[in-house]
Symmetry: C2
Subunit: 430 residues, 2 copies
């Protein structure tokens, strides 16, 4: 393998796809470069829970034989290990599922395969994408730090150039937070815009399928494969004259995060954007505590079967949900549903007045502890069902990535991707 | 096999369970009686898409060896063929899944197995519980008539005493309507009170797991297995003095259905209930057309993978959803979500004033055509996420069953079961 082949794992999916289309590179060569990178790095990063080297090469050769099928043809994907895969174990980082091998693909995996994607392997996750066992994954920028959870392996694998793209999910902050900690682009689309069939269910109202990439263009390629559409093409063309709302709701965060936001505001202003500070307390205050209620009480039904069938191997965290140790009532749940529904209507009305709303992705750099990190800044957006895109914007005092979240009204996903691309293209701070 | 054994398939689950507990009957004998009934009837009724006679007997013997595990121990269940089952094919009445054999159980199936239930086989369904291919099932009361869809086989199997209990699902009227047409009790619990993991997803907002039985007590046994709870035990003790709202919203239905409701009102009054006619137009009018939008647009994401992977074998009905042939916008979908959320809050506030709300289950007897029947009367209740119980109340002019629906606020499932039991116990009309 020559030097070039060894480095093609660093290409974005868009760049690699252009070479694949032209025949300058094969799916096999791309897969080999990714596998080689993983071989040299994954003993440290531990992003993967399963890869079958030989099967990947076989699959890549099959894809090379087929007629070119579009921009994802032959592009290697990591898949969070709570998505069912017909040809790989799906272990959920749970002893209950150790070595378990479903024989069907999750709907999202099927849609990617239909687009010609190469499913390279399964990426580590916190137990059932919840709060039981942590992933073994380490932050590739500093192995002593967390990559964030729950989509730990997917974020780290993309950040460390093991694969250009990876699937994850978000129930609280499980896509955006690892995106910020690992310095990769992350997309949490509008709730239910992508099917969650065949993905471990934790909370029907919150669980959202999403993905990671190393460019906004790559996020858009995946959105294409999922037929993600706005009602009309966006009329956004430039940040000049764009109306960008800045979430000015008071939050307790580290200086590096608030500085990142302030710095991006300066850059946006220099690009000619109209910046409007937005106090969202009126919309968000009624959501106080509601995410927790929905996650816990929907978890009662979601984990009932495992609590009954595997009472001793299911992590206490989930058994506690089933037994409602938190002591929430069903009336609490209905109140939470209704409060969320009202807040969705209000936020959509507010967000509609702007090209995008910019807010924080995480309260600081990735912590040094064995932890998922804090999802306080993410979970209300998940409950609101709005699309969120993490944009890596700077490095903090420890040279760790810090991201910001671009959000907007439900089903403005494509528009947001366009705004995110413009924001990502801004000159770095001088 | 003596006469008694041949007839035990006619017992309710509660009755059979009492005998199993006492050791008067074995799970094997009960299973054999059910299989015998099926052998003699299913060439006509066609309720089943899969039964493995030998495997059922083996499983029953295993259950007989185990210590008694509770009221569902050894009770035979039918399972609608859109629930994954680890030991039986799951074919969805789709050529794509012909002979397909998942290797995991849907969460609901797992919870039943944990309670000791005997999964007897898979029951026929309309394609993906949607509007493609119809089930082959016929109405056991008149083979020239439909059992209703989409849970056709489950309703018919319970009605014809093939099994005492069966799982189904409702996205529009797929539990309540076949319950009414086949003359069995049906429970659609509060949305998301039972996990839909491992069930074919059609519409996240609408899909609801539910079940059939031949008594209200049997419905309650299944509710126990799913840990279905209200916040507090009901204070309902008797229909005497109970406040029952009658849905007086104008509907176009056959005389036999409106007569059935009027007749039940008379019986309730004779039992001393306070009857309050309830005009729900103010709450329901904004939902006009909304169910259709949610079902169609959520179907875009739900069937995308199959439309991409199997464009020629997926029924046009679903391909059309993916291609949005109906032409609804995402704004329509958001409006529908928000209208439904508002109506849920309003209906809960209204229903709270009563012990129950009584409404129609179907616009008449089961039609003679090859059709699922009309779900107009059911689908708004599905969208409202409220629990619904079908109570068979009378026979129509063609001696076909007619049911009524008892409903109430979200998470009043156990209370409603108690009211339903009292209503079912009323003396038949004289």
């Amino acid at each position: 393998m020559d030097r070039l082949d060894q480095e093609i794992n660093r290409l974005t999916a868009s760049e690699a796809g252009a070479r694949l289309r032209r025949g300058d590179v094969t799916a096999e060569a791309l897969a080999r470069a990714c596998l080689s990178r993983i071989s040299s790095r994954d003993a440290d990063v531990r992003a993967w829970s399963y890869i079958n080297h030989d099967a990947v090469i076989r699959e890549a050769r099959e894809l090379d034989k087929r007629p070119y099928g579009g921009p994802l043809h032959g592009i290697p994907f990591g898949v969070k290990d709570i998505f069912n895969t017909a040809d790989m174990p799906t272990q959920h980082n749970s002893p209950i599922y150790a070595g378990a091998q479903p024989n069907t693909d999750a709907a999202a995996v099927g849609a990617l395969r239909a687009a010609g994607a190469l499913i390279l392997g399964k990426t580590d996750t916190t137990e059932f994408a919840g709060t039981g066992r942590l992933a073994a994954t380490r932050n590739p920028h500093d192995l002593s730090r967390t990559p964030g959870g729950s989509s730990s392996g997917s974020a780290a694998a993309v950040a460390d150039c093991h694969v250009p793209l990876a699937l994850g999910t978000q129930t609280g902050g499980s896509l955006i937070r690892p995106g910020s900690y690992c310095g990769v682009y992350a997309m949490k689309p509008t709730w239910n815009a992508v099917s969650a069939e065949g993905v471990k269910l934790g909370s029907t109202t919150l669980d959202t399928v999403g993905w990671y990439g190393r460019s906004v263009a790559d996020l858009a390629l995946v959105a294409d494969a999922f037929a993600l559409e706005d009602d009309a093409p966006t009329d956004f063309t430039s940040l000049e004259g764009a109306r960008i709302a800045i979430d000015a709701t008071p939050q307790t965060v580290e200086d590096c995060s608030s500085d990142a936001l302030a710095n991006m505001v300066r850059r946006l202003k220099m690009a000619g954007a109209h910046i409007v500070p937005l106090e969202l307390s009126e919309i968000m205050a009624p959501l106080q505590g509601m995410w927790e209620i929905v996650a816990r009480l929907e978890g009662r039904a979601a984990f009932l079967n495992l609590a009954r069938l595997h009472p001793h191997t299911l992590h206490k965290e989930f058994v506690d949900r089933v037994n409602n140790v938190a002591g929430f009532s069903r009336a609490n749940l209905i109140d939470a549903y209704d409060a969320a529904a009202r807040a969705r209507m209000q936020f959509d009305r507010t967000a509609r007045e702007f090209d995008a709303v910019l807010t924080l992705s995480a309260p600081g750099e990735a912590p040094q502890a064995r932890t998922q990190g804090d999802n306080t800044l993410n979970r209300d957006w998940t409950l609101l069902h709005v699309p969120c895109i993490n944009i890596p914007v700077t490095l903090g005092p420890n040279r760790m990535p810090i991201g910001l979240t671009l959000t907007g009204q439900r089903y403005s996903d494509r528009h947001l991707l366009t705004v995110a691309a413009a924001m990502a293209a801004l000159e770095p701070p001088g």
